[in-house]
Symmetry: C2
Subunit: 268 residues, 2 copies
Protein backbone atom coordinates (compact mmCIF):
# COMPACT_ATOMS: atom_id res chain seq x y z
CA UNK A 1 0.00 0.00 0.00
CA UNK A 2 0.85 3.61 -0.46
CA UNK A 3 2.69 6.27 1.49
CA UNK A 4 2.02 10.00 1.67
CA UNK A 5 5.14 12.19 1.83
CA UNK A 6 4.97 15.97 2.32
CA UNK A 7 7.86 17.90 0.73
CA UNK A 8 7.98 21.00 2.91
CA UNK A 9 10.13 23.84 4.19
CA UNK A 10 8.82 27.33 4.93
CA UNK A 11 12.05 28.86 3.62
CA UNK A 12 11.56 29.96 0.07
CA UNK A 13 13.48 28.76 -2.97
CA UNK A 14 15.22 25.77 -1.32
CA UNK A 15 14.28 23.20 -3.98
CA UNK A 16 10.91 21.82 -2.78
CA UNK A 17 9.29 21.78 -6.20
CA UNK A 18 12.42 20.56 -7.97
CA UNK A 19 12.75 17.72 -5.45
CA UNK A 20 9.06 16.72 -5.61
CA UNK A 21 9.14 16.59 -9.43
CA UNK A 22 12.42 14.75 -9.82
CA UNK A 23 12.04 12.35 -6.91
CA UNK A 24 8.59 11.55 -8.29
CA UNK A 25 10.02 10.93 -11.76
CA UNK A 26 12.76 8.67 -10.40
CA UNK A 27 10.27 6.67 -8.30
CA UNK A 28 7.93 6.18 -11.26
CA UNK A 29 10.93 5.10 -13.39
CA UNK A 30 11.43 2.13 -11.04
CA UNK A 31 7.81 1.05 -11.25
CA UNK A 32 6.22 2.97 -8.37
CA UNK A 33 2.80 4.51 -9.07
CA UNK A 34 3.24 8.17 -8.09
CA UNK A 35 0.84 11.08 -7.56
CA UNK A 36 2.18 14.62 -7.16
CA UNK A 37 -0.18 16.98 -5.31
CA UNK A 38 0.64 20.61 -6.16
CA UNK A 39 -0.35 22.50 -3.03
CA UNK A 40 1.41 25.75 -3.94
CA UNK A 41 -0.65 28.57 -5.49
CA UNK A 42 2.37 29.41 -7.66
CA UNK A 43 1.75 26.14 -9.54
CA UNK A 44 5.44 25.55 -10.25
CA UNK A 45 5.10 21.76 -10.00
CA UNK A 46 2.29 21.89 -12.58
CA UNK A 47 4.52 23.99 -14.85
CA UNK A 48 7.54 21.79 -14.34
CA UNK A 49 5.48 18.81 -15.51
CA UNK A 50 4.15 20.59 -18.57
CA UNK A 51 0.51 21.16 -17.50
CA UNK A 52 -0.86 24.20 -19.38
CA UNK A 53 -2.73 26.84 -17.35
CA UNK A 54 -6.10 26.07 -18.92
CA UNK A 55 -5.97 22.41 -17.78
CA UNK A 56 -5.47 23.29 -14.11
CA UNK A 57 -9.12 23.50 -13.21
CA UNK A 58 -10.34 21.61 -11.20
CA UNK A 59 -7.20 21.43 -9.10
CA UNK A 60 -5.98 21.14 -5.54
CA UNK A 61 -8.13 24.12 -4.49
CA UNK A 62 -11.27 22.20 -5.47
CA UNK A 63 -9.98 19.08 -3.74
CA UNK A 64 -9.40 20.97 -0.46
CA UNK A 65 -12.81 22.63 -0.59
CA UNK A 66 -14.36 19.20 -1.35
CA UNK A 67 -15.86 20.48 -4.64
CA UNK A 68 -14.42 17.47 -6.47
CA UNK A 69 -13.10 14.01 -5.55
CA UNK A 70 -9.53 12.85 -6.16
CA UNK A 71 -10.09 11.18 -9.56
CA UNK A 72 -11.92 14.33 -10.70
CA UNK A 73 -8.88 16.52 -9.99
CA UNK A 74 -6.16 14.18 -11.28
CA UNK A 75 -4.35 14.47 -14.64
CA UNK A 76 -1.83 12.27 -16.43
CA UNK A 77 1.64 13.69 -17.12
CA UNK A 78 3.92 12.75 -20.02
CA UNK A 79 5.57 10.27 -17.66
CA UNK A 80 4.03 6.82 -17.27
CA UNK A 81 2.80 6.01 -13.74
CA UNK A 82 3.24 9.64 -12.72
CA UNK A 83 0.05 11.68 -12.26
CA UNK A 84 -0.65 15.11 -10.84
CA UNK A 85 -3.32 17.15 -9.06
CA UNK A 86 -2.46 20.59 -10.50
CA UNK A 87 -2.79 23.94 -8.80
CA UNK A 88 -3.94 27.35 -9.96
CA UNK A 89 -4.04 30.83 -8.40
CA UNK A 90 -7.46 30.13 -6.77
CA UNK A 91 -5.44 28.26 -4.17
CA UNK A 92 -4.07 31.56 -2.84
CA UNK A 93 -7.56 32.29 -1.49
CA UNK A 94 -7.88 28.86 0.17
CA UNK A 95 -5.89 29.87 3.25
CA UNK A 96 -8.50 32.53 4.09
CA UNK A 97 -11.48 30.37 3.08
CA UNK A 98 -10.39 27.39 5.20
CA UNK A 99 -10.05 29.40 8.44
CA UNK A 100 -13.77 29.28 9.50
CA UNK A 101 -14.38 25.69 8.32
CA UNK A 102 -14.75 22.81 10.81
CA UNK A 103 -11.79 20.35 10.79
CA UNK A 104 -9.95 22.81 8.56
CA UNK A 105 -6.65 20.99 9.19
CA UNK A 106 -8.09 17.68 7.94
CA UNK A 107 -9.56 18.80 4.60
CA UNK A 108 -6.79 17.22 2.53
CA UNK A 109 -6.64 14.04 4.59
CA UNK A 110 -10.40 13.63 4.12
CA UNK A 111 -10.19 14.39 0.38
CA UNK A 112 -7.64 11.55 0.04
CA UNK A 113 -9.99 9.26 2.03
CA UNK A 114 -7.26 8.33 4.49
CA UNK A 115 -8.17 6.55 7.70
CA UNK A 116 -7.49 8.23 11.05
CA UNK A 117 -3.75 8.29 11.89
CA UNK A 118 -3.94 6.04 14.89
CA UNK A 119 -5.92 3.23 13.27
CA UNK A 120 -3.66 0.30 12.43
CA UNK A 121 -5.15 -0.01 8.97
CA UNK A 122 -3.21 -1.79 6.27
CA UNK A 123 -1.99 1.02 4.08
CA UNK A 124 -4.70 0.46 1.48
CA UNK A 125 -7.22 3.06 2.67
CA UNK A 126 -8.43 5.62 0.12
CA UNK A 127 -5.77 7.02 -2.18
CA UNK A 128 -3.17 4.62 -0.78
CA UNK A 129 -4.87 1.80 -2.69
CA UNK A 130 -4.20 3.53 -6.03
CA UNK A 131 -0.71 5.02 -5.54
CA UNK A 132 2.51 3.74 -4.03
CA UNK A 133 3.69 7.29 -3.31
CA UNK A 134 1.76 10.54 -2.97
CA UNK A 135 4.18 13.49 -2.89
CA UNK A 136 2.82 16.85 -1.75
CA UNK A 137 4.66 19.96 -2.96
CA UNK A 138 4.13 22.61 -0.27
CA UNK A 139 4.22 26.43 -0.49
CA UNK A 140 6.96 28.38 1.38
CA UNK A 141 4.95 28.95 4.57
CA UNK A 142 3.62 27.16 7.67
CA UNK A 143 0.02 28.17 7.02
CA UNK A 144 -3.08 26.05 6.55
CA UNK A 145 -1.94 24.59 3.21
CA UNK A 146 1.27 23.13 4.65
CA UNK A 147 -0.57 22.14 7.82
CA UNK A 148 -3.09 20.20 5.72
CA UNK A 149 -0.19 18.44 4.00
CA UNK A 150 1.46 17.50 7.31
CA UNK A 151 -1.83 16.23 8.75
CA UNK A 152 -2.38 14.04 5.68
CA UNK A 153 1.23 12.81 5.48
CA UNK A 154 2.92 9.68 6.82
CA UNK A 155 6.33 11.34 6.54
CA UNK A 156 8.07 14.62 5.85
CA UNK A 157 10.93 15.15 3.40
CA UNK A 158 12.75 18.48 3.92
CA UNK A 159 14.83 20.02 1.10
CA UNK A 160 17.45 22.25 2.70
CA UNK A 161 19.48 24.72 0.68
CA UNK A 162 23.13 24.96 1.81
CA UNK A 163 22.70 28.57 2.90
CA UNK A 164 22.67 30.29 6.28
CA UNK A 165 19.05 31.51 6.31
CA UNK A 166 17.83 28.04 5.36
CA UNK A 167 19.51 26.54 8.42
CA UNK A 168 17.84 29.05 10.69
CA UNK A 169 14.33 27.99 9.77
CA UNK A 170 14.87 24.30 10.46
CA UNK A 171 14.19 24.42 14.20
CA UNK A 172 10.96 26.31 13.56
CA UNK A 173 9.85 23.65 11.06
CA UNK A 174 10.65 20.85 13.50
CA UNK A 175 8.65 22.66 16.19
CA UNK A 176 5.63 22.76 13.89
CA UNK A 177 6.02 19.04 13.14
CA UNK A 178 5.95 18.34 16.88
CA UNK A 179 2.76 20.34 17.30
CA UNK A 180 1.09 18.55 14.37
CA UNK A 181 2.09 15.18 15.78
CA UNK A 182 0.62 16.03 19.22
CA UNK A 183 -2.63 17.61 17.99
CA UNK A 184 -3.58 16.07 14.65
CA UNK A 185 -1.37 13.28 13.28
CA UNK A 186 0.46 11.07 15.77
CA UNK A 187 1.88 8.93 12.96
CA UNK A 188 3.87 11.74 11.25
CA UNK A 189 7.59 10.83 10.93
CA UNK A 190 10.58 12.61 9.39
CA UNK A 191 11.70 10.65 6.32
CA UNK A 192 14.76 12.82 5.91
CA UNK A 193 16.53 16.04 5.07
CA UNK A 194 18.13 16.46 1.63
CA UNK A 195 20.85 19.07 1.09
CA UNK A 196 20.24 20.99 -2.14
CA UNK A 197 22.13 23.39 -4.41
CA UNK A 198 25.41 22.26 -2.88
CA UNK A 199 28.35 24.10 -4.46
CA UNK A 200 31.67 22.50 -3.62
CA UNK A 201 33.57 25.71 -4.57
CA UNK A 202 31.74 27.58 -1.85
CA UNK A 203 32.95 27.22 1.76
CA UNK A 204 29.51 28.21 3.06
CA UNK A 205 27.98 25.05 1.53
CA UNK A 206 30.46 22.92 3.46
CA UNK A 207 29.79 24.76 6.73
CA UNK A 208 26.04 24.38 6.41
CA UNK A 209 26.28 20.71 5.39
CA UNK A 210 28.56 19.92 8.34
CA UNK A 211 26.30 21.85 10.72
CA UNK A 212 23.15 20.02 9.59
CA UNK A 213 24.77 16.60 9.83
CA UNK A 214 26.04 17.45 13.32
CA UNK A 215 22.49 18.39 14.45
CA UNK A 216 20.41 15.81 12.66
CA UNK A 217 22.77 12.88 12.17
CA UNK A 218 21.41 10.10 10.00
CA UNK A 219 18.16 11.98 9.31
CA UNK A 220 20.24 13.67 6.59
CA UNK A 221 20.42 11.68 3.36
CA UNK A 222 23.87 10.68 2.12
CA UNK A 223 22.81 11.96 -1.32
CA UNK A 224 23.52 15.67 -1.79
CA UNK A 225 21.93 17.52 -4.75
CA UNK A 226 24.61 19.70 -6.44
CA UNK A 227 23.89 23.13 -7.92
CA UNK A 228 23.58 22.28 -11.61
CA UNK A 229 22.39 24.65 -14.32
CA UNK A 230 20.64 21.82 -16.22
CA UNK A 231 18.24 21.51 -13.26
CA UNK A 232 17.16 25.14 -13.52
CA UNK A 233 16.80 24.94 -17.33
CA UNK A 234 14.41 21.98 -17.31
CA UNK A 235 11.24 23.82 -16.12
CA UNK A 236 11.31 26.06 -19.19
CA UNK A 237 10.76 22.88 -21.26
CA UNK A 238 8.02 21.62 -18.90
CA UNK A 239 10.00 18.46 -18.20
CA UNK A 240 11.85 17.05 -15.20
CA UNK A 241 15.62 17.34 -15.45
CA UNK A 242 15.79 13.53 -15.69
CA UNK A 243 14.08 13.78 -19.07
CA UNK A 244 15.88 17.00 -20.05
CA UNK A 245 19.37 15.58 -19.45
CA UNK A 246 19.52 12.19 -17.76
CA UNK A 247 23.29 12.06 -17.47
CA UNK A 248 23.86 15.45 -15.79
CA UNK A 249 24.92 15.64 -12.14
CA UNK A 250 21.49 16.89 -11.05
CA UNK A 251 19.57 13.96 -12.56
CA UNK A 252 22.01 11.39 -11.24
CA UNK A 253 21.69 12.87 -7.74
CA UNK A 254 17.90 12.53 -7.84
CA UNK A 255 18.22 8.91 -9.01
CA UNK A 256 20.42 8.21 -5.99
CA UNK A 257 18.03 10.06 -3.71
CA UNK A 258 15.14 7.89 -4.89
CA UNK A 259 17.17 4.80 -4.06
CA UNK A 260 17.84 6.11 -0.60
CA UNK A 261 14.20 7.04 0.00
CA UNK A 262 13.09 3.54 -1.02
CA UNK A 263 15.64 1.92 1.29
CA UNK A 264 14.47 4.07 4.19
CA UNK A 265 10.85 3.36 3.44
CA UNK A 266 11.48 -0.37 3.66
CA UNK A 267 13.12 0.12 7.04
CA UNK A 268 10.33 2.30 8.45
CA UNK B 1 8.47 63.42 3.98
CA UNK B 2 8.76 59.67 3.92
CA UNK B 3 7.93 56.93 1.46
CA UNK B 4 6.78 53.38 2.19
CA UNK B 5 8.18 50.73 -0.16
CA UNK B 6 7.06 47.07 -0.03
CA UNK B 7 9.73 44.57 -1.12
CA UNK B 8 7.59 41.67 -2.33
CA UNK B 9 7.44 38.63 -4.56
CA UNK B 10 5.48 35.47 -3.72
CA UNK B 11 8.20 33.32 -5.30
CA UNK B 12 10.48 32.06 -2.60
CA UNK B 13 14.21 32.67 -2.30
CA UNK B 14 14.50 35.44 -4.91
CA UNK B 15 16.41 37.93 -2.72
CA UNK B 16 13.65 39.94 -0.98
CA UNK B 17 15.34 39.97 2.42
CA UNK B 18 18.81 40.49 0.99
CA UNK B 19 17.54 43.43 -1.08
CA UNK B 20 15.60 45.02 1.80
CA UNK B 21 18.62 44.83 4.13
CA UNK B 22 21.23 46.05 1.67
CA UNK B 23 19.13 48.71 -0.05
CA UNK B 24 18.25 49.98 3.43
CA UNK B 25 21.91 50.05 4.44
CA UNK B 26 22.89 51.93 1.28
CA UNK B 27 20.09 54.48 1.71
CA UNK B 28 21.04 55.11 5.35
CA UNK B 29 24.69 55.51 4.26
CA UNK B 30 23.66 58.52 2.16
CA UNK B 31 21.81 60.17 5.01
CA UNK B 32 18.29 58.79 4.61
CA UNK B 33 16.50 57.77 7.85
CA UNK B 34 15.40 54.21 7.19
CA UNK B 35 13.05 51.78 8.96
CA UNK B 36 12.96 48.11 7.95
CA UNK B 37 9.71 46.33 8.83
CA UNK B 38 10.25 42.56 9.00
CA UNK B 39 6.90 41.12 7.97
CA UNK B 40 8.14 37.56 7.44
CA UNK B 41 7.63 35.00 10.25
CA UNK B 42 11.01 33.51 9.34
CA UNK B 43 12.64 36.69 10.71
CA UNK B 44 15.53 36.57 8.24
CA UNK B 45 15.75 40.39 8.03
CA UNK B 46 16.03 40.52 11.83
CA UNK B 47 18.80 37.90 11.70
CA UNK B 48 20.60 39.61 8.83
CA UNK B 49 20.77 42.79 10.93
CA UNK B 50 22.03 41.01 14.03
CA UNK B 51 18.90 41.13 16.21
CA UNK B 52 19.01 38.24 18.72
CA UNK B 53 15.86 36.12 19.11
CA UNK B 54 15.18 37.32 22.65
CA UNK B 55 14.98 40.98 21.55
CA UNK B 56 12.29 40.33 18.92
CA UNK B 57 9.33 40.81 21.25
CA UNK B 58 7.34 43.02 20.75
CA UNK B 59 7.64 42.84 16.99
CA UNK B 60 5.66 43.21 13.80
CA UNK B 61 3.05 40.71 15.06
CA UNK B 62 2.24 43.06 17.96
CA UNK B 63 2.19 46.05 15.62
CA UNK B 64 -0.32 44.35 13.29
CA UNK B 65 -2.56 43.27 16.16
CA UNK B 66 -2.33 46.83 17.55
CA UNK B 67 -0.93 45.59 20.88
CA UNK B 68 1.88 48.14 20.64
CA UNK B 69 2.56 51.39 18.76
CA UNK B 70 5.37 51.90 16.26
CA UNK B 71 7.95 53.36 18.69
CA UNK B 72 7.20 50.50 21.09
CA UNK B 73 8.12 47.87 18.46
CA UNK B 74 11.17 49.62 16.96
CA UNK B 75 14.82 48.76 17.68
CA UNK B 76 18.12 50.35 16.66
CA UNK B 77 20.52 48.32 14.51
CA UNK B 78 24.34 48.64 14.48
CA UNK B 79 23.92 50.98 11.52
CA UNK B 80 23.25 54.66 12.19
CA UNK B 81 19.90 55.95 10.90
CA UNK B 82 18.75 52.39 10.20
CA UNK B 83 16.11 50.96 12.55
CA UNK B 84 14.01 47.80 12.48
CA UNK B 85 10.69 46.39 13.62
CA UNK B 86 11.75 42.75 14.12
CA UNK B 87 9.65 39.65 13.59
CA UNK B 88 9.29 36.41 15.49
CA UNK B 89 7.46 33.12 14.86
CA UNK B 90 4.24 34.52 16.45
CA UNK B 91 3.75 36.24 13.11
CA UNK B 92 3.00 32.87 11.49
CA UNK B 93 -0.29 32.86 13.43
CA UNK B 94 -1.20 36.41 12.33
CA UNK B 95 -2.58 35.32 8.97
CA UNK B 96 -5.23 33.20 10.68
CA UNK B 97 -5.89 35.74 13.45
CA UNK B 98 -6.38 38.66 11.04
CA UNK B 99 -9.05 36.90 8.92
CA UNK B 100 -12.09 37.70 11.15
CA UNK B 101 -10.96 41.25 12.06
CA UNK B 102 -12.62 44.36 10.56
CA UNK B 103 -10.41 46.26 8.07
CA UNK B 104 -7.97 43.35 8.24
CA UNK B 105 -6.16 44.65 5.13
CA UNK B 106 -5.50 48.05 6.75
CA UNK B 107 -4.00 46.92 10.08
CA UNK B 108 -0.44 47.85 9.08
CA UNK B 109 -1.43 51.11 7.42
CA UNK B 110 -3.28 52.11 10.59
CA UNK B 111 -0.37 51.03 12.84
CA UNK B 112 1.91 53.35 10.85
CA UNK B 113 -0.68 56.14 11.23
CA UNK B 114 -0.78 56.81 7.51
CA UNK B 115 -3.54 58.97 6.07
CA UNK B 116 -5.98 57.48 3.56
CA UNK B 117 -4.36 56.85 0.15
CA UNK B 118 -6.41 59.33 -1.81
CA UNK B 119 -5.91 62.31 0.51
CA UNK B 120 -3.40 64.75 -0.96
CA UNK B 121 -1.56 64.97 2.32
CA UNK B 122 2.02 66.20 2.40
CA UNK B 123 3.97 63.06 3.08
CA UNK B 124 4.45 63.87 6.76
CA UNK B 125 1.56 61.83 8.19
CA UNK B 126 2.38 59.32 10.93
CA UNK B 127 5.53 57.30 10.41
CA UNK B 128 6.44 59.34 7.32
CA UNK B 129 7.34 62.25 9.60
CA UNK B 130 10.05 60.17 11.29
CA UNK B 131 11.55 58.16 8.40
CA UNK B 132 12.56 59.00 4.84
CA UNK B 133 12.12 55.36 3.78
CA UNK B 134 10.12 52.53 5.34
CA UNK B 135 11.05 49.24 3.62
CA UNK B 136 8.76 46.26 4.25
CA UNK B 137 10.33 42.76 3.82
CA UNK B 138 7.45 40.49 2.78
CA UNK B 139 7.06 36.71 3.15
CA UNK B 140 6.93 34.47 0.03
CA UNK B 141 3.14 34.51 -0.36
CA UNK B 142 0.23 36.75 -1.41
CA UNK B 143 -1.63 36.31 1.88
CA UNK B 144 -2.80 38.87 4.42
CA UNK B 145 0.74 39.83 5.49
CA UNK B 146 1.82 40.84 1.98
CA UNK B 147 -1.61 42.39 1.33
CA UNK B 148 -1.17 44.55 4.46
CA UNK B 149 2.21 45.65 3.14
CA UNK B 150 0.79 46.57 -0.30
CA UNK B 151 -2.10 48.49 1.27
CA UNK B 152 0.32 50.49 3.43
CA UNK B 153 2.86 51.08 0.66
CA UNK B 154 3.38 53.96 -1.75
CA UNK B 155 5.39 51.74 -4.07
CA UNK B 156 6.42 48.15 -4.74
CA UNK B 157 9.97 46.96 -5.41
CA UNK B 158 10.12 43.44 -6.87
CA UNK B 159 13.32 41.35 -6.61
CA UNK B 160 13.30 38.84 -9.45
CA UNK B 161 15.71 35.91 -9.56
CA UNK B 162 16.99 35.17 -13.07
CA UNK B 163 15.28 31.78 -13.14
CA UNK B 164 12.34 30.37 -15.09
CA UNK B 165 9.91 29.77 -12.19
CA UNK B 166 10.49 33.31 -10.92
CA UNK B 167 9.40 34.75 -14.28
CA UNK B 168 6.20 32.77 -14.18
CA UNK B 169 4.96 34.31 -10.96
CA UNK B 170 5.37 37.90 -12.13
CA UNK B 171 2.03 38.22 -13.93
CA UNK B 172 0.24 36.82 -10.86
CA UNK B 173 1.95 39.43 -8.65
CA UNK B 174 1.02 42.24 -11.02
CA UNK B 175 -2.57 41.03 -11.00
CA UNK B 176 -2.66 41.24 -7.22
CA UNK B 177 -1.21 44.76 -7.34
CA UNK B 178 -4.03 45.78 -9.68
CA UNK B 179 -6.65 44.37 -7.30
CA UNK B 180 -5.09 46.16 -4.32
CA UNK B 181 -5.02 49.43 -6.25
CA UNK B 182 -8.70 49.11 -7.18
CA UNK B 183 -10.00 48.02 -3.76
CA UNK B 184 -7.71 49.40 -1.07
CA UNK B 185 -4.85 51.66 -2.17
CA UNK B 186 -5.30 53.72 -5.31
CA UNK B 187 -1.89 55.36 -4.83
CA UNK B 188 0.17 52.13 -5.09
CA UNK B 189 2.81 52.36 -7.84
CA UNK B 190 5.53 49.99 -9.06
CA UNK B 191 8.94 51.47 -8.17
CA UNK B 192 10.75 48.83 -10.13
CA UNK B 193 11.93 45.28 -10.71
CA UNK B 194 15.50 44.34 -9.78
CA UNK B 195 17.16 41.28 -11.34
CA UNK B 196 18.97 39.23 -8.69
CA UNK B 197 21.49 36.37 -8.54
CA UNK B 198 22.46 37.04 -12.13
CA UNK B 199 25.17 34.61 -13.25
CA UNK B 200 26.81 35.69 -16.50
CA UNK B 201 28.17 32.14 -17.10
CA UNK B 202 24.61 30.84 -17.25
CA UNK B 203 22.63 31.30 -20.48
CA UNK B 204 19.35 31.01 -18.55
CA UNK B 205 20.13 34.24 -16.66
CA UNK B 206 20.49 36.08 -19.97
CA UNK B 207 17.24 34.65 -21.34
CA UNK B 208 15.28 35.62 -18.26
CA UNK B 209 16.83 39.10 -18.11
CA UNK B 210 16.06 39.75 -21.79
CA UNK B 211 12.51 38.43 -21.37
CA UNK B 212 11.79 40.65 -18.35
CA UNK B 213 13.15 43.75 -20.04
CA UNK B 214 11.06 43.00 -23.13
CA UNK B 215 7.88 42.73 -21.02
CA UNK B 216 8.45 45.48 -18.47
CA UNK B 217 10.75 47.94 -20.25
CA UNK B 218 12.06 50.72 -18.06
CA UNK B 219 10.31 49.35 -14.96
CA UNK B 220 13.41 47.12 -14.74
CA UNK B 221 16.35 48.79 -13.03
CA UNK B 222 19.57 49.09 -15.01
CA UNK B 223 21.40 47.73 -11.95
CA UNK B 224 21.58 43.92 -11.89
CA UNK B 225 22.61 42.14 -8.67
CA UNK B 226 25.18 39.41 -9.49
CA UNK B 227 25.29 36.05 -7.73
CA UNK B 228 28.12 36.66 -5.26
CA UNK B 229 29.11 34.30 -2.45
CA UNK B 230 30.02 37.22 -0.13
CA UNK B 231 26.31 38.16 -0.15
CA UNK B 232 25.26 34.76 1.14
CA UNK B 233 28.01 34.72 3.78
CA UNK B 234 27.03 38.04 5.38
CA UNK B 235 23.87 36.83 7.24
CA UNK B 236 25.92 34.38 9.30
CA UNK B 237 27.74 37.43 10.77
CA UNK B 238 24.46 39.32 11.32
CA UNK B 239 25.64 42.12 9.08
CA UNK B 240 24.68 43.46 5.65
CA UNK B 241 27.12 42.53 2.92
CA UNK B 242 28.03 46.23 2.62
CA UNK B 243 29.58 46.00 6.08
CA UNK B 244 30.91 42.47 5.56
CA UNK B 245 32.77 43.31 2.35
CA UNK B 246 32.11 46.74 0.92
CA UNK B 247 34.21 46.26 -2.22
CA UNK B 248 32.68 42.98 -3.42
CA UNK B 249 30.46 42.92 -6.51
CA UNK B 250 27.32 42.34 -4.43
CA UNK B 251 27.82 45.42 -2.22
CA UNK B 252 28.71 47.64 -5.15
CA UNK B 253 25.56 46.53 -6.98
CA UNK B 254 23.38 47.48 -4.01
CA UNK B 255 25.08 50.88 -3.80
CA UNK B 256 24.19 51.46 -7.47
CA UNK B 257 20.66 50.21 -6.88
CA UNK B 258 20.18 52.74 -4.06
CA UNK B 259 21.28 55.50 -6.42
CA UNK B 260 18.78 54.37 -9.01
CA UNK B 261 15.97 54.11 -6.47
CA UNK B 262 16.67 57.66 -5.25
CA UNK B 263 16.68 59.01 -8.82
CA UNK B 264 13.36 57.33 -9.56
CA UNK B 265 11.86 58.56 -6.32
CA UNK B 266 12.71 62.14 -7.24
CA UNK B 267 10.98 61.65 -10.58
CA UNK B 268 7.81 60.13 -9.11
N1 LIG C 1 20.12 21.61 -7.88
C1 LIG C 1 19.80 22.75 -8.45
N2 LIG C 1 20.68 23.38 -9.23
C2 LIG C 1 20.38 24.56 -9.82
N3 LIG C 1 19.20 25.20 -9.69
C3 LIG C 1 18.27 24.61 -8.92
C4 LIG C 1 18.50 23.38 -8.26
N4 LIG C 1 17.37 23.05 -7.58
C5 LIG C 1 16.49 24.04 -7.81
N5 LIG C 1 17.02 24.98 -8.62
C6 LIG C 1 16.40 26.24 -9.07
O1 LIG C 1 16.32 27.08 -7.92
C7 LIG C 1 15.06 27.74 -7.89
C8 LIG C 1 14.34 27.34 -6.61
O2 LIG C 1 13.98 25.98 -6.67
P1 LIG C 1 12.46 25.53 -6.41
O3 LIG C 1 11.54 26.45 -7.11
O4 LIG C 1 12.36 24.08 -6.68
O5 LIG C 1 12.39 25.80 -4.84
P2 LIG C 1 11.08 25.84 -3.93
O6 LIG C 1 11.54 25.56 -2.55
O7 LIG C 1 10.05 24.96 -4.51
O8 LIG C 1 10.64 27.39 -4.08
P3 LIG C 1 9.31 28.03 -3.42
O9 LIG C 1 9.67 28.27 -1.97
O10 LIG C 1 9.09 29.32 -4.19
O11 LIG C 1 8.21 27.04 -3.61
C9 LIG C 1 14.32 27.33 -9.15
O12 LIG C 1 14.50 28.34 -10.11
C10 LIG C 1 15.00 26.03 -9.57
O13 LIG C 1 14.97 25.83 -10.95
N1 LIG D 1 23.24 38.15 -4.98
C1 LIG D 1 23.30 37.03 -4.26
N2 LIG D 1 24.34 36.20 -4.44
C2 LIG D 1 24.42 35.05 -3.73
N3 LIG D 1 23.51 34.64 -2.84
C3 LIG D 1 22.44 35.42 -2.64
C4 LIG D 1 22.26 36.66 -3.33
N4 LIG D 1 21.11 37.22 -2.92
C5 LIG D 1 20.57 36.37 -2.00
N5 LIG D 1 21.39 35.30 -1.83
C6 LIG D 1 21.16 34.14 -0.96
O1 LIG D 1 20.07 33.42 -1.54
C7 LIG D 1 19.17 32.99 -0.52
C8 LIG D 1 17.81 33.60 -0.80
O2 LIG D 1 17.86 35.01 -0.59
P1 LIG D 1 16.81 35.71 0.40
O3 LIG D 1 16.65 34.91 1.62
O4 LIG D 1 17.19 37.14 0.52
O5 LIG D 1 15.50 35.59 -0.52
P2 LIG D 1 13.99 35.84 -0.07
O6 LIG D 1 13.25 36.17 -1.31
O7 LIG D 1 13.96 36.84 1.01
O8 LIG D 1 13.57 34.39 0.48
P3 LIG D 1 12.15 34.04 1.17
O9 LIG D 1 11.22 33.86 0.01
O10 LIG D 1 12.40 32.75 1.94
O11 LIG D 1 11.79 35.18 2.06
C9 LIG D 1 19.76 33.42 0.80
O12 LIG D 1 20.46 32.34 1.36
C10 LIG D 1 20.71 34.55 0.43
O13 LIG D 1 21.81 34.65 1.29
MG1 LIG E 1 8.05 25.44 -4.95
MG1 LIG F 1 13.01 36.68 2.89
Amino acid sequence: GGRVIAVANQKGGVGKTTTAINLGTALSAVGQRVLLLDLDPQGNASTGLGIEQERRVPGSYDLLLHNVDLPGATLDTDIPDFRIVPSNPDLAGAEIELVPLPRREFRLREALNLAAPAAATPRTDGARAIYDYILIDCPPALGLLTINALVAADALLVPLQCEFYALEGLSHLMGTVGRIRRSFNSALQIQGVVLTMYDRRNRLSDHVAADVRAHLGDKVYDTVIPRNVRVSEAPSFGRPVMLHDFHCAGSQAYVHLAGEVLRRERAM
